[in-house]
């Protein structure tokens, strides 16, 4: 069901990238969230739940018998359904949101109500014997970092895509590379042009001077020449 990553096995072994082919015939990549970030999210949620319990008890203790009933029911609901409510409405509890991760179905769609209930009821099993030991063990022995609840519900926890700001390659006059470049070489040049401005100046020079043999230039001049090649690849003459 899950395709190998397009970059091949070597990358797949190193990276926690998961590719899934959608019905439209294209591959989507998901970056899986590992145990540490999920534990942090859980800790934030635990703290928040503590606050909810505190407020609930302080408010309702004044009301006597009915107040006690509300406390009990409140504890029940928060204990079992706190994550469910958030996951169904937005895919992530406040803790997960803060850590930039969210829950999705195996097929990349938003988590369904039933899957969310299953994965959260099974927390009781993942927690055993203490502090999610079973869940951690399960996460570490499968490739998708799934705890038991995720396995049974068919869900994944992945990083939320940050809103990208696309850097345009710096404007420079286009010039044709002196030799014919293969596709992957062209791609390397484009990547350099798009990411060059984010690197330090020294690193940029160092990278550009790798091609000193071809350009015969050093420093900023070499960088600008590579930008020009990239522009030519993008625009043509």
């Amino acid at each position: 069901m899950l395709a190998e990553t397009p970059q091949g096995d070597a990358v797949a072994q190193l990276d926690t990238l998961l590719s899934y082919e959608i019905p439209e015939g294209v591959l989507l990549d998901y970056r899986l969230a590992g145990p540490v970030v999920r534990a942090c999210a859980w800790a934030i949620d635990a703290a928040l739940r503590g606050v909810i319990y505190l407020v609930l008890v302080l408010l309702m203790a004044l009301l006597g018998g009915v107040g006690m009933a509300v406390i009990f029911i409140g504890i029940f609901l928060v204990e079992w359904f706190y994550p469910v409510v958030f996951e169904i409405s937005s895919g992530a509890t406040p803790g997960k949101r803060a850590m930039g991760i969210l829950v999705i179905q195996d097929n990349g769609t938003p988590v369904s109500p039933s899957a969310s209930v299953i994965r959260n009821l099974l927390r009781a099993a993942d927690f055993l014997p203490m502090l999610y030991a079973t869940g951690l063990l399960t996460m570490l022995i499968n490739r998708e970092f799934k705890r038991l609840g995720d396995l049974a519900a068919g869900t994944l926890v992945v990083y939320r895509d940050q809103q990208l700001t696309r850097e345009l390659p710096p404007q420079a006059s286009a010039s044709k590379p002196p030799v014919d470049l293969t596709e992957s070489e062209q791609l390397t040049l484009l990547t350099f042009a798009e990411r060059g401005e984010k690197l330090s100046q020294d690193r940029r020079h160092e990278l550009a001077e790798l091609l000193a043999e071809m350009t015969g230039l050093k420093g900023d001049a070499a960088v600008n020449r590579l930008y020009a090649y990239a522009n030519w690849i993008l625009k043509g003459r």
């Binding site: 439209e24 990349g108 369904s112 099993a125 049974a152 850097e167 596709e183 791609l187 993008l234």
Partner: protein
């Protein structure tokens, strides 16, 4: 086609799609675009997918691919989401879905019942015949509290002396927290090869049977049995159903059949969820009966009559409800 031409040609469409998706994320009554615009989304989305595939195939720059990828990602989760109709589904579930699911799981139900009922009967008989047997299972303070609760001198049935002043509402809340929690744990621990579920069933069977036997021995018939017989119909049945759900998970792990364990687990979990949610609703009803009806001091005869009616209702509901519509037998 060069990348720049490609971008120039399609940029406006991508912006349009992004805007449309922003709008579709809003609740239905707060969207700004007319319906005719909203309905264009699937077609636009498929166009976007083909642009993304083209960009990838032609080796356009990574940043462009990344931009299209994130658009496709958003579109995918928007187009294939499930939403709405939960009230109707809940009604349908109570009327027919749940009892049917229980009937589909009759084998699991029988095994679960066996692991609950047999220890309960044996322990009950044992504790009835032998005074000290109960202390091998339950500690002294708990037994004393139980004896207190059903002492015929007690004002409020089913509650120890310290608790007798608490209101019915409080106990209602407590029963929800405690009993539904036990039901959920009975289900969840089934994933550990079914052992957790069987243990909880066995243990609860032993304790409940033991205490019933012990209290009957003390001669508290007229307080204990009228109290438990009513809500027991919903409560005990629901716990056994949770057990059946847990056993389904255990089955998937132990004997997945012609599937991988993960696939089997997903299928069984989907089926088991119906059992658990239905059982949770039953436990809610049980909590209500236990808090407001069972604790009333009424002649045992009428308690028993109501209890008999409740048992018949539960059994008929699980056996008969939802049978009309072409149910495969």
């Amino acid at each position: 086609m060069r990348q720049q031409q490609f971008e120039a040609e399609h940029q406006s469409r991508w912006e349009e799609i992004a805007e449309l998706m922003d709008d579709l994320h809003r609740p239905q009554d707060k969207r700004r675009m007319p319906l005719s615009e909203q309905l264009k989304f699937p077609a636009y989305y498929r166009q976007l997918c083909s642009h993304y595939a083209l960009a990838r195939g032609r080796g356009f720059s990574p940043a462009l691919i990344e931009q299209l990828h994130s658009l496709v990602l958003r579109g995918h989760s928007l187009l294939y989401r499930q939403q709405g109709g939960w009230r109707w589904r809940l009604l349908n579930f109570v009327a027919s879905g749940f009892p049917r699911a229980v009937r589909r799981s009759r084998g699991y139900f029988a095994l679960s019942l066996l692991f609950f009922l047999v220890p309960a009967l044996l322990m009950g008989l044992g504790c009835y015949l032998q005074e000290d047997l109960i202390y091998t299972l339950v500690d002294q303070t708990t037994v004393a509290e139980m004896e207190d609760s059903y002492d015929p001198q007690n004002q409020r049935l089913g509650r120890s002396l310290e608790r007798s002043s608490e209101s019915d509402f409080t106990m209602f809340g407590f029963y929800i927290l405690n009993n539904i929690g036990i039901g959920f744990r009975t289900f969840a621990s089934g994933i550990i090869l079914g052992v957790g579920t069987l243990f909880i069933l066995l243990f609860n069977g032993l304790v409940i049977g033991g205490i019933a036997g012990h209290l009957s021995r003390l001669g508290y018939h007229d307080t204990f049995w009228p109290f438990v017989s009513g809500h027991g119909s919903f409560e005990l049945t629901a716990i056994v159903i949770c057990g059946a759900a847990g056993l389904r998970l255990g089955r998937a792990v132990i004997a997945p059949g012609q599937r991988t364990r993960v696939q089997a687990l997903r299928e069984q979990a989907e089926e088991a969820l119906q059992l658990v949610l239905g059982a949770a609703l039953m436990l809610l009803v049980a909590a209500f009966i236990e808090a407001f009806w069972s604790s009333m001091l009424i002649a045992p005869a009428s308690k028993y009559t109501v209890a008999a009616l409740l048992w018949i209702a539960v059994i008929c509901y699980l056996l008969l409800a939802g049978r009309r519509l072409h149910e495969p037998r």
